[in-house]
Structures are given as structure tokens and as C-alpha cells.
């Protein structure tokens, strides 16, 4: 079964959704969409460094994602204007990465694979890495769930209950960095943010508790992965963007199903 590249591709997306569902919910609740994009764009710089040193692309992007995440966190703590600070960081890292990749000699690099994903060429090894990494992120989020949720709601409220909000934010950044490194292969640096935000936003309308929202976001992510890969297989469209389109359609449907607030 794993011999079929379409099956491997769909399974990769399904595995990634385990992490992007609940993590995306936090990104939406904390209004960190731009924050997530910044870390994702910086992954391109990680690719360039990995290629230059012939290192594992996963480890290279992970290292840069963690680094940029920590820089962004430091800027936030100093009370800088986050919008422009993240913009500078995000586009500098992306542009620097694109320039650096062009200097890497020897291999001809297909840039679009890193920008929009290359899920159809996912190997059994990479599939294992994606599942293992996603399960680690999911386990981390489940472990910290209640504390992170309280800290997301209000820092003082969390502190009064003995929770350190700074630590919870750090956990979130690290989880985000791991997911960015995993998702690069699937949807590419430019669309990772979409995998975080669209399923969670779609789940919002039909959920009454944070837990249900995160769970539904996982299911929508899985659904979009399978439908996107099948559609790409039939139409020869690029698979990463097809997955995002499927998620966007799910979001549209969720607007129609929206729960009346009572």
C-alpha cells in the first residue's frame, strides 16, 4: 500500500493534521497567524543553510525555525510593534534564503518544491518522520493543554493558578517550529500558515468548547489532505495547494453550518 505515491502523500497530510489541528487552534486564539507565517517563511533560509552544508533539510529548517521563533518571542517581550517587527524578520529571512539558495553550487534546486511543497515525492522514511514528529507535538500539546489554554486566556489568571505564562508561550513556539519543519515537504513554506489557520477557523463555527474545536480541526485537516491529494492525482494540479484549496472549501461549508450562539 505504501508503494503507491498517492497513498503515501495522503498519509503524510493525515499525519501532519494531528499536529496542525490543535496547534492551529492556539494560533487562531492567540492571533499569531503572522507569527506562524514568519517562522514558516524563515524555513527557506533553513533550506539554504542545509543545502550549503549538505545537512538534513529537516534539521536545518528546524534549527532556523527555532531561532527565528525565539527572536520573534524576544521582540514581543520587549514590547516592540509586533506587526512591523515580524514583517521585517519574515521577509528578510525569506529573501535571504532565496538569495542563498541561488548561490548553492552543484545541485540544481527546484525552488517551488520548498515554496509550495512536494508531497507526491514523500518517501517512506519521510512519512515516518512526519508521523513521529506530529505525534510528539500532539503529545506535547495534550500534556500542556490546560495550562496553555489558561495562559492564552489571560496571563495574570494563569499566574494566579501557579502557571508560568512565559513557559507556555515557549512551548508553543517550539511546537510551531517542529511543525514548520515537518510541513515544509507537504505544503511548502508559503502555505504552512494555511494548514494551521484554515482547519481551525473552519472548526470554530461548529464547536462549543476549545477541545472540540481542536479535534474538529484535526478531522478537517485530514479530510483536506485526502481530498486534496486525490484531486491532484486526477487533475495533475500541484498537491500542496490542492490540499489548501480543499481546506478552504471545508471552511466555506462550515460557514453554512455555523452553530447559532445562544
Amino acid at each position: 500500500m505504501l508503494d503507491d505515491f498517492l497513498v503515501r502523500a495522503a498519509l503524510a497530510g493525515v499525519g501532519l493534521s494531528l499536529a496542525t489541528g490543535p496547534l492551529g487552534a492556539f494560533v487562531v486564539w492567540r492571533r499569531m497567524a503572522y507569527f506562524g507565517d514568519t517562522i514558516a517563511h524563515a524555513a527557506i533560509l533553513g533550506v539554504a543553510i542545509s543545502l550549503a552544508f549538505s545537512a538534513s533539510i529537516f534539521l536545518g529548517t528546524l534549527a532556523i525555525a527555532v531561532l527565528v521563533g525565539l527572536i520573534a518571542l524576544g521582540l514581543e517581550r520587549r514590547g516592540r510593534s509586533m506587526d512591523s517587527a515580524l514583517g521585517v524578520l519574515s521577509y528578510s529571512a525569506l529573501a535571504l534564503g532565496l538569495v542563498a539558495i541561488s548561490f548553492v553550487k552543484g545541485t540544481r534546486v527546484d525552488l517551488s518544491a520548498f515554496l509550495f511543497g512536494d508531497i507526491l515525492t514523500v518517501s517512506v522514511m519521510q512519512l515516518g518522520l512526519i508521523w513521529a514528529g506530529s505525534c510528539v507535538v500532539l503529545a506535547l500539546l495534550l500534556w500542556r493543554w490546560s495550562s496553555m489554554l489558561t495562559a492564552t486566556l489571560n496571563e495574570e489568571l494563569a499566574a494566579s493558578a501557579g502557571i508560568n505564562p512565559d513557559r507556555e508561550r515557549l512551548v508553543l513556539i517550539l511546537a510551531l517550529a517542529v511543525v514548520v519543519a515537518l510541513a515544509l515537504k507537504i505544503v511548502g513554506a508559503l502555505l504552512i500558515g494555511a494548514m494551521l489557520i484554515i482547519p481551525a477557523a473552519a472548526a470554530r463555527g461548529i464547536a462549543r468548547t476549545p477541545e472540540v474545536m481542536a479535534g474538529v480541526a484535526i478531522l478537517i485537516g485530514m479530510f483536506a489532505s485526502v481530498v486534496g491529494v486525490i484531486a491532484a492525482g486526477i487533475t495533475d494540479a500541484p498537491a500542496g495547494p490542492s490540499i489548501v484549496v480543499a481546506a478552504a472549501v471545508a471552511f466555506g461549508v462550515s460557514l453554512l453550518l455555523r452553530f447559532p450562539e445562544k
Binding site: V28, W29, R31, R78, G79, S146, S147, L149, T150, T152, L153, N154, E155, E156, L157, A158, A159, S160, A161, I163, N164, P165, A201, R204, A207, R208, T209, P210, V212, M213, E261, K262
Partner: protein
């Protein structure tokens, strides 16, 4: 021993001193009110006492195992987060359902158990915040301007409720407020803050202190006169309270 103590506490933001030389303590069962103009560092002091901001100098000590019930100044729940009242009361630890319903009833928020937090009225929301602070029998209630957005009878009813609850539970109360005439009445001690402790003492002492009068521009018809006025009309508040519950 004090429940919370600050010793020579100072907090700087971006190199500018927000708080300086703060010595503060609150003992079991005590009611302490912090007053001060906007930007006087009231909320920063609370954040430092809770441990959200690190002291730049000095130290904060909390009694080991201290149970804090905290009511934030603002709690903006993003409309992106679905949250029922029962789930909110369960943060971070889920108490038994009967306990949650009992506390909701006590604060006059019965029947809200399954409601979405974002659909509550200002008064209901405030009572649910209070209910959460009361879960697990706190040793101290910390309230940071808890009546913002409530109308005058709502404010009076809310403080009446706090006062009743304190007598039942026997917890200490640390209150930050600008509702001077309301809060002065029940306080054991008032601390007048403006980056540093301007003056401190019983409500009578503080309201007579020149520093306090200068800060709030209140002459001889100060907070005490207003307090007496409030006290005269006590039964009014009960009526309003019932109205709100109806």
C-alpha cells in the same frame, strides 16, 4: 506571616521605573485597597505580586501553597475561542460539577453553566469571573478594578456580594479600584500608590492625608463623606441586586 509580601520592590519597563521602593504585605483575612491615578502602577504591582512580571529590584514572597482567586481587570475572550461557562470554571483544573453549580448559584449566576462566555452580559460575566476565583476556597481574592463596565447599582451589588463572601470564607482581599467611595468603607488598610507608596493607613488616615488629597483633588468633602452617603442607602442596593438577578 503575610500571605504576600513585597520587599523594596521596583519594576522597570524599558528602562523607565514604573514602581519604586514598594514595601507591601497582606495578612490572612485582611482587606487592603490600592488606590491611585491612571498610570500609577497599580496593575503592575498586581502583576508583580502574582509573579507575571519579574521585579527589577527587591523581591516578592508568596506563602508556600497560597491559593489565589484572581479577577482580572479585563478578560477579552477572543471570539475565535469557543468557551462555555463550565469549561471556563474548569481552568486549569476541573472541579466536580455540583461544586461549580453551587458556586455559580452563590454568586447569583445560576443557570449559566452551559452558556458561551461571549454571550454573557457585563454583570453576568463579572459574576462568572468571581465564581472562578472562588473555586477551591482561595486564601486571598485579588481584584483588579473588577467593576469596569458595570453600572452604579451593579457596582454596589457586586461589592456587597464580595463583602458577604469574605465573611463566609474568611479570605483576605486585595482590591485595586478607583471607585473610591465604595471601596473605602470596608477596607482595613488603604494604600495610595503613585509609582511609590504615597501614604498608607486606615481609610480615615489616608483620606485625611495631604498626599491623598493632592492626588485626587478631594477637599474636606472627601471619600469619607461619600462613604457615609453610600451607607445611608444600603437597602437600595439589595433591591437593585434582585432586579439584576430577575
Amino acid at each position: 506571616m503575610s500571605l504576600i509580601q513585597a520587599i523594596d520592590l521596583a519594576v522597570d519597563y524599558a528602562q523607565a521605573a514604573v514602581l519604586n521602593d514598594i514595601n507591601f504585605h497582606i495578612s490572612a483575612g485582611e482587606i487592603v485597597t490600592i488606590v491611585g491615578p491612571n498610570g500609577s502602577g497599580k496593575s503592575t504591582l498586581i502583576r508583580a505580586l502574582l509573579g507575571v512580571v519579574k521585579p527589577s529590584r527587591g523581591s516578592v514572597r508568596r506563602q508556600p501553597g497560597l491559593r489565589i482567586g484572581y479577577i482580572p481587570q479585563k478578560l477579552a475572550i477572543d471570539s475565535a475561542m469557543p468557551l462555555t461557562v463550565s469549561r471556563f470554571l474548569s481552568l486549569p483544573k476541573r472541579p466536580p460539577k455540583y461544586e461549580m453549580e453551587q458556586v455559580l448559584t452563590r454568586v447569583g449566576a445560576e443557570g449559566l453553566y452551559e452558556r458561551q462566555m461571549t454571550t454573557l452580559s457585563g454583570g453576568q460575566f463579572q459574576r462568572v469571573l468571581l465564581a472562578r476565583a472562588l473555586m477551591g476556597m482561595p486564601d486571598i481574592l485579588i481584584l483588579d478594578e473588577p467593576t469596569q463596565g458595570l453600572d452604579q447599582p451593579g457596582v454596589a451589588a457586586f461589592y456587597q456580594l464580595i463583602d458577604d463572601l469574605r465573611q463566609e470564607i474568611g479570605c483576605a482581599i486585595l482590591l485595586v479600584s478607583h471607585d473610591l467611595h465604595v471601596v473605602m468603607s470596608a477596607s482595613d488598610r488603604v494604600i495610595c500608590l503613585n509609582g511609590h507608596v504615597c501614604c498608607e493607613g486606615s481609610p480615615q488616615v489616608v483620606s485625611a492625608a495631604p498626599e491623598y488629597r493632592e492626588m485626587f483633588g478631594i477637599g474636606t468633602k472627601g471619600a469619607l463623606a461619600l462613604y457615609r452617603h453610600e451607607h445611608d442607602h444600603h437597602h437600595d442596593h439589595d433591591t437593585h441586586k434582585e432586579d439584576e438577578n430577575a
